[in-house]
């Protein structure tokens, strides 16, 4: 695939934007209906720009041909624009407070030396990843597939830290506050809580490394909460204060944001109001086709590699199936190395186009609990949990 096709293939946005190409680096010039690719962010390589204040940057689809997302290509999403751009580790402390026997502070060094380090791969995915595919368009950031990534997270178990401080009886939730602040002081600060029983599980950690490096500032330096299997809204960035609570945390972010309709389909008719809502938690089973990109041109008889990733909430991926006849028949893709139940599972398939014309390639993942990607899903006001069978169309010439 040549460079032009590469950029042409980014045309998956419903939004028209064209860039004053003379003002952007030559390599970034394109004329398709999509957002500009930016290379202007420190710590980051080519990402799709939605906003710089706060930074909202999406990973282009073609990078999901590999299980591990490099830090430089990892998507960026903040809620409040006053984000940490410098942290002095000499004075930075993690505070543990609230319903604990010994309120305590840790330096990053304390965390690294006092507790057993833990490492695992886990997918970080925004609740609204794929929001752009919902019709009608829900409000929010209109991510395509790239508000997700997979990294090796290294850190300490939250359980160990909380036990060190001593959880008092009657505790039910743990609240996490990061260094990000609202630019307008009356805007509610981004603070979220998790149920205590989830927090005490072995796999909830505070990570100080991402892919064996300190976390980029843009991904939550120096410490990020990792809640594998759960959507990114729970993975608080730049955590600096942890409060154990004996009653539920009440604020805008907990009471109104990141809610799903509380019914079987987690859906409503567009325009209607859900009767009851619940907080979004676990991810669903999903596969994404990274390559070839939509509208790629390939030659009859020339073998192409179809590649992508698949993941779920932690049961693990059993199979990824591909269809070349709009879902009538399915063929198994080859699965890459298993990197743990919360990781992306790489998959690939070699395909030889037989005749000229347009061809739709579909991918469908099935997890170890037997759940598979649906052909369609109901609408929800937040535009959350998009996991419909993925599709790309290629042009065979």
């Amino acid at each position: 695939m040549n460079r032009r096709d590469f950029f042409k293939g980014l045309a998956i946005s419903a939004f028209t934007a064209s860039v004053g190409s003379n003002l952007i680096e030559k390599a970034d010039a394109f004329t398709v209906k999509t957002y500009p690719i930016t290379t202007k962010f420190p710590e980051k390589d080519k990402l799709i720009l939605y906003s710089e204040r706060p930074p909202l940057l999406e990973t282009p689809r073609q990078y999901f041909d590999r299980a591990i997302t490099p830090n430089k290509l990892f998507f960026v999403r903040w809620h409040l624009a006053d984000i940490p751009t410098y942290v002095d580790l000499n004075s930075w402390r993690l505070k543990i407070q609230g319903n604990v026997k010994n309120p305590i502070e840790f330096s990053l060094d304390d965390l690294k030396t006092k507790f057993e380090p833990v490492s695992f791969y886990a997918v970080l995915q925004c609740s609204g990843n794929g929001r752009n595919f919902f019709k009608p368009k829900p409000k929010g950031i209109h991510w395509n597939h790239g508000a997700m990534g997979n990294a090796l997270w290294t850190g300490v178990r939250l359980k160990d830290i909380l036990n060190y401080a001593g959880i008092k009886s009657g505790s039910i939730e743990v609240a996490f506050d990061g260094l990000d602040k609202p630019p307008y002081p009356k805007t509610p600060d981004f603070i979220r809580s998790l149920p205590l029983d989830r927090v005490l599980e072995e796999d909830v950690i505070l990570a100080y490394e991402m892919n064996n490096e300190p976390l980029p500032y843009l991904n939550g330096f120096p410490l990020r909460l990792i809640v594998p299997g759960w959507y990114a809204t729970h993975w608080i960035k730049s955590v600096s204060r942890i409060t154990v609570l004996d009653k539920p945390l009440k604020n805008f972010w907990m009471e109104k944001a990141y809610k799903l309709p509380d019914n079987d389909c987690e859906c409503i008719k567009p325009g209607e109001k859900p009767e009851k809502t619940k907080t979004i938690t676990t991810m669903n089973v999903k596969s994404v086709i990274a390559k070839p990109l939509d509208n790629s041109i390939v030659k009859v008889g020339e073998v192409i590699k179809i590649a992508g990733v698949a993941f779920d909430y932690g049961s693990g991926i059993r199979d990824v199936l591909l269809s070349f006849d709009n879902g009538k028949t399915w063929e198994k893709a080859n699965l890459g190395t298993y990197l743990g139940r919360y990781s992306f599972r790489e998959w690939f398939f070699y395909y030889k186009p037989k005749k000229k014309g347009k061809l739709t390639i579909m991918s469908r993942a099935i997890n170890n609990d037997g759940q598979m990607q649906p052909f369609e899903i109901g609408w929800n006001p937040g535009g959350y949990k998009w996991n419909v069978v993925d599709k790309v169309q290629i042009n065979i010439v």
Binding site: F15, T16, S18, G20, Y50, E52, P138, Y184, T187, L218
Partner: protein, 101 residues
């Protein structure tokens, strides 16, 4: 064809603190479509975030824009008076509504 131009006005970074260790984030300027209410949008809707948020939501219907403006005032405490909010809403619906995807 209607084009929304993403203009990269300032290609340089915000080097406010001139320290090597501080992360320098770029600044972008997103010219909004001309029209009545544009100035109010520029005044009120860039206080807390870039107007990239607005362009990214282009194409939503009137009810959704109403919801968004109300959400900014009610939940995020945007200090916008009723009259200005109405004019902003009209501008958004006209320039970034369902006909302006």
């Amino acid at each position: 064809m209607k084009k929304i131009i993403f203009l990269l006005l300032l290609g340089f970074s915000t080097n406010l603190f001139a320290s090597d260790s501080k992360l320098n984030l770029p600044i972008y300027s997103y010219p909004l479509k001309e029209g009545k209410g544009k100035q109010l949008v520029e005044t009120y809707c860039q206080m807390c975030h870039s107007v990239g948020y607005i362009l990214n939501n282009a194409g939503v219907d009137k009810k959704t824009w109403e919801h968004i403006v109300h959400h900014m005032i009610h939940d995020f405490k945007a200090p916008i008076d009723e009259k200005s909010a109405k004019e902003i809403l009209d501008y958004l619906v006209k320039n970034y509504g369902t006909k302006n995807k």
